[in-house]
């Protein structure tokens, strides 16, 4: 039996974890343009301070829960800023979590975090140790020094680090005065005046230098293609085609949500022309995602998905079409996970019935697809929607209530609401109904993680949540915390 404080703790934690999945401080569809940024920043600042101050242990263990990178950097920064509040018993685990978390961030975010530490004037022994360990653990430190030069320099300065080899001379020295032994440093030094050296540098560094040398975009892209990372290649697919360069990229290697975003960015005619290619790529990505993060689905019975493709799923300028992309990704994921038992129900759907041609249009009508889903007597109903229902409003709540009370008192059907959009004025992803667990989702391929939290919502299993977080933290740090 949970005590009152345990109930409150559990609810607060679940609220915070949902916010960490869904919130990125970017404007959403229903945010008014003027005050969106400050509203999100204020809300998230409050949430982080609140949870850090009241539940520090859980706050640190949240790092292990597969939350998005924005939340991870925030948590690391807050923990480093409030280091004196750590209890001595937890200190080792917290340090291990910090180390593992920074290592799991993409490098540009990690360096940006260190720059934020400098800006916030956080410079204690632990912060310096985190920066030192991060740089020491980098697989290729010279590559980082070239690609993220200014950031590495800022981090090293702030943390008073002594860097090995020629890195010190490279970052702070005068390049005109010394010739480097390390090949990459030497290439960088030569690229200032020699055109062919530019093509041996990483893409982001070479781009600015190419503009300086006046190399045409087409020549540049063709030459630099081998040095681009997979993500950069995907990002430049469209603009390089405009410049007349066909970048070869394997769509099948793209992660699921990034692939659905790409597909939704294509016009309908283009999707029709490349239909088979896109289908195979999407199914391959879904299969890969399902293998890496298996969903804990009920073993038998129909699994119905109610997917929202209304106009609000078109997101905002900063997050274009993201809610729709996540819905499409979840569709493909479930189709590959449980092909014979899965039934999709879109709120508008396409005339042809093929979700590849879905477009964010129309009012949010979740009542019709939900009724059709319930008629198949499913064992799980997964609703992917931003929570703003208006055709008619409150229909999901009314239908679920009537289903639970009159047609399914034994609760054979479970309802889960996956919400990719963070409503800043509600401090959480907007729920459709108090009877349905609303979970923030970061993207389609990590759906398994929020689903794992679904079973703690509305139940009184605080101890189970505690154990769950402890296990996740231990797995994340590789047992180093004990």
């Amino acid at each position: 039996m949970e005590t009152r404080s345990e109930i409150v703790t559990r609810e607060d934690l679940l609220l915070f974890i949902n916010a960490c999945f869904a919130a990125t401080a970017q404007r959403e569809f229903y945010d008014a343009p003027a005050d969106a940024k400050s509203l999100h920043q204020d809300t998230l600042a409050f949430l982080h301070r609140y949870v850090c101050g009241n539940y520090r242990t859980f706050y640190a263990r949240t790092l292990a829960c597969g939350i998005n990178d924005f939340a991870k950097t925030r948590i690391v920064q807050t923990l480093l800023a409030t280091g004196q509040e750590t209890t001595p018993a937890f200190r080792r685990e917290e340090n291990a979590l910090l180390r593992a978390a920074t290592r799991s961030l993409p490098p540009q975010r990690a360096y940006k975090l260190f720059a934020a530490l400098r800006k916030a004037n956080i410079n204690n022994r632990r912060a310096r140790a985190v920066v030192r360990d991060y740089l020491a653990a980098r697989p290729d430190a010279t590559f980082d020094a070239v690609k993220y030069r200014s950031k590495v320099r800022a981090a090293a300065t702030h943390a008073h680090l002594r860097l090995p080899g020629e890195m010190g001379a490279f970052l702070w020295g005068d390049h005109a005065k010394v010739r480097f032994q390390t090949p990459l440093f030497e290439t960088f030094r030569q690229a200032r005046y020699a055109k062919e050296a530019v093509f041996r540098l990483p893409y982001t560094v070479a781009e600015g230098l190419a503009a300086k040398h006046g190399i045409s975009r087409a020549t540049f892209l063709t030459g630099i293609a081998p040095n681009m990372t997979q993500t950069e290649r995907e990002r430049l697919l469209r603009s390089s085609a405009d410049a007349g360069v066909a970048l070869v990229t394997d769509l099948a290697r793209m992660p699921l949500t990034r692939l659905t975003l790409y597909v939704l960015g294509l016009s309908l005619t283009e999707r029709e022309t490349r239909r088979d290619e896109l289908e195979t790529a999407l199914r391959g990505a879904a299969r890969r995602a399902f293998r890496q993060a298996p969903l804990a689905l009920p073993p038998a019975g129909t699994i119905a998905a109610v997917l929202d493709d209304s106009y609000s799923a078109s997101g905002s300028e900063e997050k274009r079409r993201r809610p729709l992309a996540i819905a499409l990704g979840v569709h493909y994921l479930l189709r590959e996970a449980v092909p014979e038992r899965y039934k999709p129900f879109w709120s508008n759907g396409t005339a042809s019935g093929n979700p590849l041609f879905v477009v964010a249009r129309g009012a949010t009508d979740l009542a019709t697809p939900l009724v059709h889903a319930l008629e198949t007597h499913p064992v799980l109903v997964l609703i992917v929607s931003d929570g703003y229902e208006n055709d008619p409003p409150g229909a999901v709540h009314a239908l679920v209530r009537v289903w639970r009370e009159r047609l399914d008192p034994a609760a054979h059907t479970a309802f889960v609401h996956a919400n990719p959009v963070f409503a800043a004025d509600e401090y959480a992803p907007r729920p459709l109904s108090p009877l349905i667990a609303a979970l923030g989702v970061r993207d389609a391929e990590t759906l398994a993680v929020p689903l794992a939290f679904a079973r703690f919502v509305g139940t009184n299993e605080f101890a189970a949540l505690d154990d769950f977080l402890r296990d996740r933290a231990e797995a994340f740090t590789g047992g180093n915390g004990r």
Partner: protein, 402 residues
């Protein structure tokens, strides 16, 4: 001179046959209720298109001697077929139609348009939205008293009520309307919208076809509304949160769920209708036909000027045979605007005889003079009449009316 500009047919109410009222979407103080038509109910033989003008200011020549300047960012073009076949889709030629002349003043150019509803082609009429209705309102008894009773001032006896002015608020002045229109999700069969500000009906906007509505949804921001509406938008930040409470006892089996969901929609539809009762309830509408267009009729309408309730003004295109409304746009009159029209109507009904009008209203003559003056028509009466009315009520002869 035809004095009563709404002297045509009196309809028993606003005809919404064939139109269903959908569930509202709320953003701040603005509630937008979609008006839907079933695909089978859309005949397509009358369509409206948007024509944008590069010059925002236009001069409209209403008659030989009368013209006015206005901010007209766009006009609507009505195209219709007389033989029940759907109107063909139109492409870019809409933008190129020469519609009036352009006059360039150097710092600004002005478009010269003729008439508010101008026939351009055999089956095509160009319409300046709401101008028809507003012109009808301003021209109501514009000529002034037909009999030169001595109570009336020289000015009015000679030139009538000129100048007659009313104020309106532009859509861009309505706080929150731009945001509400931006986040509004246009429903599948949506052909129109009821715009509520602080839960009062600001405007009805109905079009014949869903594609027409999609094209014109954003123009709601460039139209004009009653200035009462702008005040309400500033005064109220949110509207009452409405929740449908359905009756769950009707659901016995899974098959009943569909009827249950349909019942929810019906509840919201009824709610929308109740909110718009000021216009949509059975209230006599005074109409005036402006133009007959084959099987269709373009007319303007005015509610019966009930001083204690809402009053609306507007224009509509109806199918003459059935009375079905294809296009409609309305404007909410404020209380003072209603009062002005009401008093004009009462005076005209009494043949402009002041004592008779006062008797019809169960008022003293002096009270009527003071009330008409307060409504904004102080220039109607001679100074002697106004001073006598004040003295009779214990005020000084030149006291201001508060």
């Amino acid at each position: 001179m035809k004095q009563d500009t709404f002297a045509g047919q009196i309809l028993p109410g606003f005809n919404l046959n064939g139109v269903q009222i959908g569930a509202p979407q709320v953003c701040g103080a603005i509630r937008l209720v979609p008006l839907l038509r079933e695909p089978t109910g859309v005949s397509g033989d009358l369509r409206l298109a948007l024509r944008r003008y590069d010059e925002p200011v236009s001069q409209v020549a209403v008659s030989e001697q009368l013209a006015y300047y206005a901010y007209i960012p766009h006009a609507m073009v009505i195209r219709y077929n007389t033989d029940d076949t759907p109107v063909a889709a139109w492409g870019g030629q809409m933008e190129r139609s020469p519609d009036g002349k352009r006059q360039d003043f150097g710092f600004r150019s002005v478009r010269l348009l003729e008439r508010m509803a101008k026939r351009e082609d055999k089956n095509q009429v160009r319409l300046l939205p709401l101008h028809l209705a507003m012109e009808g309102f301003l021209a109501l008894y514009f000529g002034g008293p037909e009999i030169a009773w001595e109570e009336y001032s020289n000015q009015v006896r000679r030139t009538g009520f000129s100048p007659r002015s009313e104020s309106v608020a532009w859509g861009s002045e309505i706080d929150g309307l731009a945001e509400a229109l931006r986040v509004f999700e246009i429903a599948r069969n949506q052909c129109g919208v009821l715009l509520f500000v602080a839960d009062t009906l600001a405007s009805v906007f109905l079009l014949p076809h869903p594609d027409d509505y999609r094209a014109m949804h954003e123009t709601l921001l460039q139209d004009f509304y009653g200035d009462l509406i702008a005040q309400y938008a500033l005064m109220y930040g949110t509207v009452a949160h409405a929740v449908a409470v359905p009756d769950a006892s009707t659901v016995q089996t899974v098959a009943d769920l569909r009827t249950f969901a349909a019942g929810l929609r019906a509840d919201w539809s009824k709610y929308g209708k109740t909110l718009a009762a000021g216009l949509l309830e059975s209230r006599p509408l005074r109409t005036q036909t402006v133009r007959e267009m084959g099987p269709f009729r373009l007319s303007r309408f005015l509610t019966d000027l009930d001083l204690s309730g809402e009053n609306h003004l507007g224009e509509a295109v109806t199918r003459t045979a059935t009375g079905e409304t294809l296009y409609a746009k309305s404007f909410r009159l404020s209380a003072s605007q209603t009062k002005r029209a009401f008093f004009l109507q009462q005076l005209a009904a009494a043949d402009w005889e002041l004592d008779r009008a006062a008797a019809n209203l169960n008022m003293e003559r002096h009270d009527l003079v003071l009330r008409i003056e307060k409504a904004g028509f102080s220039y109607l009466f001679t100074p002697q009449v106004r001073a006598a009315a004040r003295k009779a009520r214990g005020m000084r002869g030149d006291a201001p009316l508060t």
